[in-house]
C-alpha cells in the first residue's frame, strides 16, 4: 500500500507538534511564575524542543 508511509509521517508530525506546543506552554507558565529564572527556562525549553523536532524531521525523511 503506497501512501501509508505519508500517513505515518503525518501522525508523527502531529505528535511532535503537540509535544512542542506543550513544552512552549509549560515554559510560559514557568516564566510567569518565576520571571527571574526565564533565561534558564528558555534554554531548557529550546533543548527539549530541538530534541522533539529531530524526531519530526527524521519521520519526514523516512517517509
Amino acid at each position: 500500500m503506497t501512501g501509508l508511509n505519508f500517513v505515518g509521517a503525518g501522525l508523527i508530525v502531529i505528535g511532535a507538534g503537540l509535544g512542542i506546543g506543550r513544552i512552549g506552554g509549560s515554559a510560559m507558565d514557568a516564566i510567569a511564575r518565576q520571571p527571574e529564572a526565564s533565561g534558564k527556562i528558555q534554554t531548557a525549553m529550546l533543548i527539549a524542543a530541538a530534541l522533539i523536532e529531530g524526531i519530526g524531521f527524521a519521520a519526514l525523511f523516512a517517509a
Binding site: 534554554t43 529550546l46 533543548i47 530541538a50 524531521f57 519526514l60
Partner: protein, 362 residues
C-alpha cells in the same frame, strides 16, 4: 532619533529589494514551450537546493533565443588517471561535453561522469548510470562559499584580537558587535554546560562552529543563491567533528557510564550498554539531521511561496504571497541564528557529558 529611524527604513528597503531580486530569478526565465509554470517552479526549487559546478546568479533567454547565464565558472578538479584541472565553463552549464587530454566528461544529474566522444550515458535497470565516475575534488559553489566564509571569519576575528592588543579592553568597530556574542557563548553556553574548570578547551570549537553556521545560514538568505547548510555532507562533517571531540576528550567516567552503568543491577547493565553505545552515535546524527532539515525545509517553503506569486498572477494573490514570503524571510532570519545556537548548545552539552566528574553514588 532621526538617524535611528533612517536606519530602520534603510534596513526595511534592503529587505524589500533583496526579496524582489530573488523573485526576479523567475521572471527573467522565459518559459520553454510545452512546460507549465508549476513544473518550471518545481524545477527551479530543486535546482536551487543542489550544489553546482559554476557560480551562476541567474539566467535568461535573450532575443536570439540563447540562454545567457550571469555568473562565473569555477575550477573542476578530477582524479582520473592523474590530476585533471579545468574550468567548469567547458561544460557550458551541463549542456556540452568537456574534453580534457583526450578524455570526455559529462555532467549528468549534477555529477561528473566519464563518457565516450559522443557523450553517451548508459543506464542500468534502476536508472543509475554505469559510466565511470572519476574522483571529484572540484571547487563547487558550496566549497567556494565555505572557503570564503572561512577567510572572512579569519580576517574579522584576527582583526578583533589585534584591536584588543592595541586598545586594551575596549573593542573597536565591528568588534563591538561580536564581543557580546562571544561572551554569550562563553557565559551562557560553554560554562553552564561544560563547567567552570574545563570549558576553555572547547571554546575555540564552539565559537568557530557558531559563527560558521550562522554566517553561512545568513548567506543562504541572500539572493546569491548559495545554501551550504542544506547539503547533508556539510552538516555531516560538522557533526563528525563534534562526535570525534566528544569521543577523544571523554574521561573514564563517561565510558564507565556507557559500558557499565553504576548503580543498576547486572542484567540491566548488559542491556543498557548497547543502547548507550548507540546513543553516542545518535546524538551527532540528530545534530546533522536537525541543521540540514531545518534549513532545507525553510528554503523550500520560502521559494514555494515566492513561486506562488507567479502562479496567482492577480492583484490579490500576488501581494498576499509577497507579504507571506516577506514574513517568512524574517522568520528564516531567526531560524538561521536559532539553528546555529542549538548546534553550539547541544555540542557543548555533549562535551559536558564527556568530561563530567561524578563523585556521587547513584
Amino acid at each position: 532619533m532621526y538617524r535611528n529611524n533612517l536606519i530602520k527604513i534603510l534596513v526595511l528597503l534592503l529587505f524589500i529589494v533583496t526579496s524582489s531580486v530573488t523573485a526576479q530569478d523567475y521572471t527573467e526565465e522565459n518559459l520553454p514551450a510545452g512546460k507549465g509554470i508549476k513544473e518550471e517552479i518545481k524545477e527551479y526549487i530543486n535546482h536551487h537546493l543542489l550544489d553546482s559546478y559554476d557560480f551562476s546568479l541567474f539566467s535568461y533567454t535573450n532575443d536570439a533565443g540563447e540562454h545567457v547565464y550571469i555568473g562565473a565558472p569555477l575550477p573542476v578538479i578530477l582524479i582520473d588517471g592523474g590530476l585533471k584541472v579545468f574550468s567548469s565553463s567547458k561544460f557550458h552549464h551541463g549542456e556540452t561535453l568537456a574534453e580534457v587530454d583526450g578524455n570526455y566528461y559529462k555532467v549528468f544529474h549534477n555529477k561528473i561522469y566519464k563518457t565516450d566522444a559522443a557523450g553517451t550515458i548508459s543506464l542500468d535497470e534502476h536508472e543509475h548510470p554505469t559510466n565511470i565516475k572519476p574522483l571529484d575534488f572540484s571547487i563547487t559553489k558550496n566549497v567556494m562559499v565555505i572557503f570564503l566564509v572561512g577567510l572572512l571569519m579569519f580576517v574579522i576575528f584576527s582583526r578583533m584580537a589585534k584591536s584588543y592588543k592595541k586598545n586594551g579592553l575596549m573593542p573597536k568597530g565591528f568588534g563591538r558587535v561580536l564581543e557580546p556574542l562571544v561572551l554569550f557563548i562563553r557565559d551562557d553556553i560553554a560554562i553552564p554546560n561544560i563547567g567552570e574548570k574545563k570549558y576553555k578547551k572547547y571554546m575555540s570549537y564552539l565559537l568557530t562552529v557558531f559563527f560558521f553556521v550562522w554566517i553561512i545560514n545568513l548567506l543562504g538568505l541572500t539572493p546569491l543563491g548559495v545554501n551550504v547548510t542544506n547539503n547533508i555532507a556539510v552538516t555531516f562533517a560538522l557533526a563528525l567533528i563534534t562526535y570525534l571531540l566528544t569521543t577523544f576528550t571523554a574521561n573514564k567516567n563517561y565510558w564507565k557510564h556507557i559500558f557499565w552503568m553504576p548503580g543498576v543491577p547486572t542484567p540491566m547493565k548488559i542491556i543498557l550498554a548497547p543502547i548507550e553505545l548507540l546513543g553516542t552515535i545518535i546524538k551527532p546524527f540528530s545534530l546533522m539531521i536537525r541543521l540540514y532539515a531545518n534549513i532545507t525545509a525553510g528554503h523550500i517553503v520560502l521559494m514555494s511561496i515566492i513561486g506562488l506569486m507567479f502562479i496567482f498572477k492577480s492583484w490579490i494573490g500576488s501581494p498576499l504571497s509577497f507579504g507571506l514570503a516577506f514574513a517568512l524571510a524574517l522568520l528564516e532570519l531567526l531560524v538561521a541564528a536559532l539553528q546555529a545556537y542549538i548546534f553550539t548548545m547541544l555540542s557543548a552539552l555533549y562535551f559536558g557529558m564527556a568530561v563530567e566528574e561524578h563523585d556521587d553514588h547513584h
